[in-house]
Amino acid sequence: MSRLLMIPLALLLALPRPAQALETDELLALVTLPLAVAAVADEEGVPALELANLVATLNNAGVEPARMIEVVRYVPVALVAEAPEAPFVGFVEASVAQGLRSDALVNVIEDRLRSYDLPDVQLNVQQARLITDIREDEHFVVRRRGVRRTAPVVEHPHGGPPGQLKKERGEQTGAAIVHGITRQDVDEVRKAERKAERKLDRKADRGGKKLKAKVDRADNSGKGNGRDNGNGKGNGGGKKEKGR
């Protein structure tokens, strides 16, 4: 009889229960995620567009909310310390483009943040942090301290170190590379400029001679040239030339 009783009970235990999409911790992390974004967005010097791009990238990569909060709270530090040729948000986007997702992506971000003189970064947390004001967060203090990137930047987004193309092509300016101007073009422009300058100089010389002639012909009588048609006394006296 007891066997008969055991069968329905075993069936009852074996039946699948409706799966909960989110555990309580995950749900609590989720509801506090926008708070972290809002707190960081309030911080001076954090570009809203870059922050939005970062969160969208992390969302698309399926990063869990608790870990997203950890990444977001380091954003002010990363944006201050980042090297202009290898920006933090660009780095995260590139990592996702390479196929990194979820925890693998978080691990790579963690390594990157460690290079900002933050050796104790730990992004793989289980419980979400409640961030209502980033100024109360310990990492805001780090940000104010003025962290700079300590590791050398290896990545070159355009394929090589700065100045490489100029060196290879024997150009003097970056503009020559970017705008496709050759050295010959620059020489031609300089030649035309020099020609125009010489022309101006010659004109100025001729103008000077004419002026001198005018001065020689000037009236030295000492009389004024006012409304009285030159009949005034004139107080200057005028310096008479010896020959006259």
Partner: protein, 98 residues
């Protein structure tokens, strides 16, 4: 003993009915997503604050707004992608008593 058997059978039947419930919810999932998208950041923030305050009532609170956990997650992640919307959410969240 018959009573015991009957009780066990009743429990089994009840459990079977319970497993049928998610399939109904899954059928209505697109509607739940649409409902979540219709909620303003302030409404989502208030709901988030209430969930934070009483996580045990999360399912009930979500159901009251016609949401599933999945649709709610999508909506909150979308809010987080917009710093301005996140500020509205955060204000409503704090007002909800956290």
């Amino acid at each position: 003993m018959k009573k015991l058997l009957l009780t066990a059978l009743l429990l089994t039947t009840a459990a079977c009915n319970r497993t049928a419930a998610p399939s109904v919810a899954q059928q209505g999932q697109p509607a739940a997503v649409a409902q979540a998208e219709a909620l303003a950041p302030e409404q989502l923030g208030e709901l988030g604050g209430q969930i934070r305050k009483d996580p045990a009532r999360a399912q009930q609170l979500l159901a009251q707004h016609g949401l599933t956990e999945e649709s709610f997650e999508q909506a909150v992640r979308k809010v987080a992608e917009d710093p301005a919307a996140s500020k509205k959410y955060a204000d409503a969240f704090k007002k909800a008593g956290v």
